[in-house]
Amino acid sequence: MVDRALAGTRVRNRRLDLGLRQADVARQINISGSYLNLIEHNRRRIGGALLEQLARVLEIDAGLLADGTADVVLGPLNAAAAAFPEARVEGARAEELVDRFPGWAALIAAQARRIAQLEERTQALGDRLAHDTQIASSLHEVISTATAIRSTASILVETPDLDQSWRGRFHSNIDTDATRLAESSQALLGFLDMEVETGLEGGATPVEAAEAVMAGWGYYVPQAEAQGVPDVSALDGPTRGLVEGWVRRAGEDAARLPLAAFEQAARAVAYDPGRLATRFQVPLEVVLRRLAHLPPDAGHPAMGMAECDAAGVVTFQKPVLDFRLPRAGAACPLWPLYQALTQPGRAVRRVVQMPGVARTPFECFAIAGPVGEVAFGGEQRVAATMLVRPARMETIETLGNDAPDAVGPGCRLCVVQECASRRHPSIV
């Protein structure tokens, strides 16, 4: 417990730190110099308005000058010291630290409290992962189904003389379980993704909030056709800025690729981005973006999109079917988006498939390049853009005996163990 008497010492130390004369301080708070002297020597107690005035003049939080408040700082300071005994701090001098450097002491205390909060949060998330009934039930479903498939498949393989009726029955069971497994694993992944993306503060980031706005519009903004921007004044600042930026860019793309002409040409070339870029003489990324932002009810095929910056951080994405890159934690580097990033200017087209049964093969078109004006000097921003669409049958057929390239949802949720790009173990 802090001795009340020390409040005076704190006042004196703070005044001396600021290089103020006792008489000047006393005059500013309308008390005599001798009275302030008594306070500073802990012979008079302070509180109320006088404490507030003194704190204002000394440019310090009144709480830090007050008697009990120092305990609010000292407690976490002592806790911080106890948590890191190897630091061997001068524990007996904690009070002196508070007195002499209240700002630094408050910072240490705040950080100690923050660490404690984060530890609690981490523990809560860990507990939830271990005990949440939804996760447990979902995981149980996945593992039980996998068990049934494994056991049944083994019987089929290891029993060549299996009776025909049993064989048919087991085939049927595997088919049923495979469908169930696909559904339950997707549900589980979706749930885990949601958990991850919730973040520590429990709220969506501005990018997620802005994407939700775009999703609400079906990723199509009619006003952008005439380079207009809808009224988004109700959104918070960062979210509004992102939405307006995306819509303005969509407007610029629309100006280069007028809707009617672009739709007609797109249908004519089966939505081939390369041919469209040649036809309209625009950079490929403009076509990729335009294709991903066509009117949703005009009969165009479903197309998703992702963009990332030079660090690989996803800056925008439009999900399609089960395509969705994780925003928290690194995504799988095998996605063409990232491969394009390593070779700016080179167009990448690949057919990919995520692990698991009933996964849709996707045809991906990606390119990376500079953003904004290219000039000597300064740092050039680079970004990659990828259009993603369910691969058409004729596209898959062109692969012949080759399987689509394997990509994952990110190491954390990926079941492919033998992967040269794996960074850390999977939790599923």
């Binding site: 593992i143 039980s144 068990t147 019987i155």
Partner: protein, 122 residues
């Protein structure tokens, strides 16, 4: 008639696969899918061995195991617990309640067969 094993499990295709597997190995397999009435089923005819899933509708496998061990009729019947969980604490809980063996899903058929044969020899 072979030796009797009772499989208490709610996943129909696991039931079918294990039943087939054990039948081929000479066991007479009885099955039950509901946790709530599992003890009634056991008392209808105490089997030589029980394979018991942990997560069952109505009642958990742990609760059933506790009852099995408390009942003099079934206290000594070998029980192999099946669970989708493989954490140490689950294994410890099963062991502390009297499980004879603990098997984590997804298991292989060979593991099941080996374990059942080993437990039958006890």
């Amino acid at each position: 008639m072979g030796r009797r094993v009772l499989l208490i499990e709610d996943e129909p295709n696991i039931i079918e696969a294990i039943s087939y597997l054990l039948s081929r190995d000479g066991w007479t397999v009885h099955t039950h899918s509901d946790g709530e009435t599992a003890m009634d089923k056991v008392r209808q005819g105490v089997p030589e061995l029980i394979i018991l899933d942990v997560m069952l509708p109505g009642r958990s496998g742990y609760d059933i195991l506790r009852d099995l061990r408390a009942d003099p009729q079934t206290a000594d019947v070998p029980v192999m617990m099946l669970t989708a969980r493989g954490q140490a604490r689950d294994r410890e809980l099963a062991t502390s309640l009297g499980a004879t063996q603990f098997m984590t899903k997804p298991f292989s058929n060979a593991e099941v067969l080996d374990s059942v044969r080993a437990l039958a020899a006890l």
